[in-house]
Amino acid sequence: MLVPDDLRYAETHEWIRSEGSIGTVGITDHAQAELTDIVYVELPQVGAILESRKAAAVVESVKAASDIYSPVSGEVVETNPELESNPALVNTDPYNAGWLFKLKLSHPEEISSLKSAAEYRTQIGT
């Protein structure tokens, strides 16, 4: 399972890449492999205010709908427009083309409470 070193991770299998005050959020390679065959992604509205660890999006595989939690708090500034026509990008490229939404961080210090790549690898046992 891929767990890039430059990202931070939530216990609930989301990743965040922060650049200045903007954080990009997606689900991990491990999460997409567990879900498999993602056929629909429901994203938050641009402008929505998200709280950390609250449901922010829904990823649906053939088998089930899964809530995706925002790893940190902030305002949604962009969502991935490609996922409407090609939700399988979350499976094929979870850390790049398969990103879900971007947030303007309201509490940037929350990032440091998330797991490092090493800590997340320990959690999923790889």
Binding site: H13, E14, E34, D37, E60
Partner: protein, 367 residues
């Protein structure tokens, strides 16, 4: 995403080690620890629609009913008419409670005069057996053989080519005895996918021998091991009901659209009287097939169905159809809104998505 820790696994089939070797993702189903997929539900679904797939169905139950009064007695337990069965024939039938609700749906095969072989749902083995035991009459013996059998479903357009090397194939809905790698196998031409296919029942001790041999000799045909995920999407496309989801003790086979498998002309069977009353007074709801009109989240069990402001029903199954590329579902809908062509809306987390009641099945196999 939160990991699914519900349905704690209880029992393992004799193929458990083979599933792990193949890297299957396992889930709890009906008290069993079963593979949900090996590589991908979509790939396994397409393997069955286009080539051939093999499923472990060892969790399903096998019950033998025999003795001089077996036919006469079993015909009072089941809805379909056993007297139509010749040697080797199988038929889809239902076991009902006194209220006419469904305890189980099953296939009964005639293996000889007064000798019947029942294949029942995994989660219902004990209940079916106890129900029959408690109503037993003289001259009938009922035995639960479930632990002795491994089961495989070999399904798809290539399944006959894969199995014909082992001898004469049964006709549709029939069962024959054959041997694979020297192992005695009951081979039935039945399935749960809408494709040509077979179900094999053989001694559990030889589970891996037959499984591995079929995967090996099936390689040139593109055979793939398939899990419960694909089994569920395949059966939904052809609108086969799943007991515990689309069938329940509070729904009759008439409401489920299974009247074809209920012989109300039979003088006696458990659940007959309530069905006669229901036929007389009319149904309130009916199990229908729905298809999304456009892009939507996949329909799921328990989603509400609306016509305008009126809630007219609820889904019992649903998924994104891999073959049709659109959302599909099965659900009970008030009879006035149950005709094909009826426009409805499905409520998904507070948002409404347009769908239409369709004729069953939603998918027909390629000829």
């Amino acid at each position: 995403m939160v990991s699914d820790s519900t349905n704690l696994p209880v029992k393992q089939t004799p193929l458990y080690a083979e599933h792990l070797k193949l890297g299957a993702k396992m889930i709890g189903f009906g008290g069993w620890n079963m593979p949900v997929f090996y590589s991908s539900i979509l790939e396994e679904h397409q393997a069955v629609r286009q080539r051939v797939g093999i499923f472990d169905i060892s969790h399903m139950g096998q019950i033998r009913v025999s003795g001089p009064s077996a036919e006469q007695w079993l015909n009072t337990m089941l809805t379909n008419n056993l007297k139509r069965l010749e040697m080797r024939d199988g038929q889809y039938t239902l076991l009902l409670n006194e209220q006419g609700g469904v305890i189980d749906d099953l296939i009964v095969y005639c293996r000889g005069s007064n000798d019947y072989f029942l294949v029942v749902n995994a989660a219902k083995i004990e209940e079916d057996f106890a129900w029959m035991q408690s109503r037993l009459k003289g001259g009938v013996a009922v035995s639960d053989l479930s632990d002795h059998f491994a089961g495989l479903a070999v399904q798809g357009p290539g399944s006959a080519e894969l199995l014909e090397r082992f001898g004469e194939l049964p006709k549709r809905n029939q069962i024959r005895e054959t041997r694979i790698q020297g192992i005695p196998v009951l081979l039935a031409r039945t399935g749960y996918t809408g494709e040509d296919g077979f179900e094999l029942f053989y001694p559990a001790a030889a589970a891996g021998v037959v499984w591995n041999h079929l995967l090996e000799v099936g390689t040139p045909l593109g055979v793939k091991p398939c899990g419960l995920g694909a089994r569920d999407t395949l059966r939904m496309e052809v609108c086969y009901p799943l007991n515990g989801a689309d069938l329940s003790p509070t729904r009759t086979p008439l409401e489920a659209g299974l009247g074809f498998f209920v012989d109300l002309e039979k003088p006696e069977f458990v659940g007959r009287d309530p069905l006669l009353v229901q036929k007389e007074t009319g149904l309130r709801q009916r199990l229908v097939a729905l298809k999304s009109d456009g892009k939507s989240p996949p329909p799921r069990a328990h989603y509400s169905v609306f016509v305008g402001d009126a809630r007219v029903g609820e889904l019992t199954s649903g998924t994104q159809s891999p073959s049709l590329g659109i959302g599909i579902g099965l659900g009970y809908v008030d009879v006035p809104f149950s005709k094909p062509g009826q426009k409805v809306e499905i409520d998904v987390r507070g948002r409404r998505f347009a769908a239409t009641v369709e004729k069953k099945p939603l998918y027909k196999k390629r000829c």
